[in-house]
Subunit: 167 residues, 2 copies
DNA sequence: TTTTATTTTCAATAATTTTTGAAAGTTTAA
DNA sequence: TTAAACTTTCAAAAATTATTGAAAATAAAA
């Protein structure tokens, strides 16, 4: 396979995969494009490569900046803005995990807690409370594990974690 | 809060949350309904409670069965089918993890591998291959951790895992 | 200043995904 | 068999989500 062909294929594949994780396709493609680019790209560059409008580029680039996985970069002698994605994949993984935790797991926990306040003690009410409390318990545990992963360093994850888990 | 009110709130909240994980809202609501129901429910029951059409119930119930988190159950003296969701939340977590791994993580790994076959060795090509190999590496590691989690038992996760991770 | 370059916004439009509901298919009972 | 009870399918409609593009806003240069 030729390099440019592979890059395009990667960008498009990443976009499709994103959909199943509830992530906008174009947002994933913009990130993929920046990730495999050797130099900072302007809004025009992104528009041309992905064949999307200026407004769309603007919205998605800002969403990526908001997620903390893309940043603006100034290029000497250029007035317009350029964008880059950090090439450190472990950092990327940590950042995405951190954001999804905050945006999606923590709100779940909050709702589950609220719901447990039921002033009823029938058999049925108890069963419902048990389901909620089990949901909280598993979610809290997963949340805790992700916290540790975020604080860990790459080497630790890749070697020790795997070994420890094996048991 | 009153029990029925809390159940309805739980069902609706779960539906909204599902959207951000790329899961159909109604599918999540049907599952939530079955999870907090004390008895098996028929298609009619689900239609009435969630105010959705017969076709919609059928599609989503079958999707849930396909995910392995809902099953048919026969009720004596009744001709039609009834459905139940397993109340074991740890099992539910494991089953969902298993399915998402198979449906979403493993295809990513496959694509990443394919893409690495580039017959070019420029500086740029090497950098691209590095990104792909790092993506593979992190994804493989996560996949492995999830494998262990699936094989583990609840008690192990809730106590030991958390302690081990703390280090 | 004023002009020019660039970014942002957002209503309108397009694309995608979900839902409906009626017809076709299947199963059980009479 | 035939009829009734129930389930499945799927094209059309509705709902949701994403995208466009031109106008407004902002920032830098003349």
């Amino acid at each position: 396979m030729k390099l440019d062909e592979a890059k395009i294929k990667y960008i498009h594949t990443w976009g499709s995969l994103a959909t199943s994780w509830g992530i906008n396709k174009t947002m994933a493609q913009v990130h993929a494009l920046l990730l495999v680019s050797t130099k900072p790209l302007s809004a025009e560059d992104i528009m041309e490569t992905l064949k999307i409008s200026r407004g769309n580029v603007n919205m998605n680039v800002r969403a990526l900046i908001d997620w903390g996985i893309v940043r603006k970069e100034f290029v000497v002698g250029e007035r317009k803005e350029f964008f880059v994605a950090d090439k450190d994949i472990w950092e990327l993984f940590k950042q995405i995990t951190k954001e999804r935790k905050k945006r999606e797991i923590e709100p779940v926990l909050k709702v589950l807690e609220e719901l447990q306040e039921i002033d009823e003690s029938s058999e049925e009410a108890e069963q419902f409370k048990k389901v909620l409390s089990d949901l909280s318990s598993v979610t809290t545990t997963v949340n805790g594990i992700l916290d540790k992963a975020i604080r860990a360093d790459e080497h630790w994850l890749l070697s020790n974690f795997t070994k420890m888990i094996k048991k």
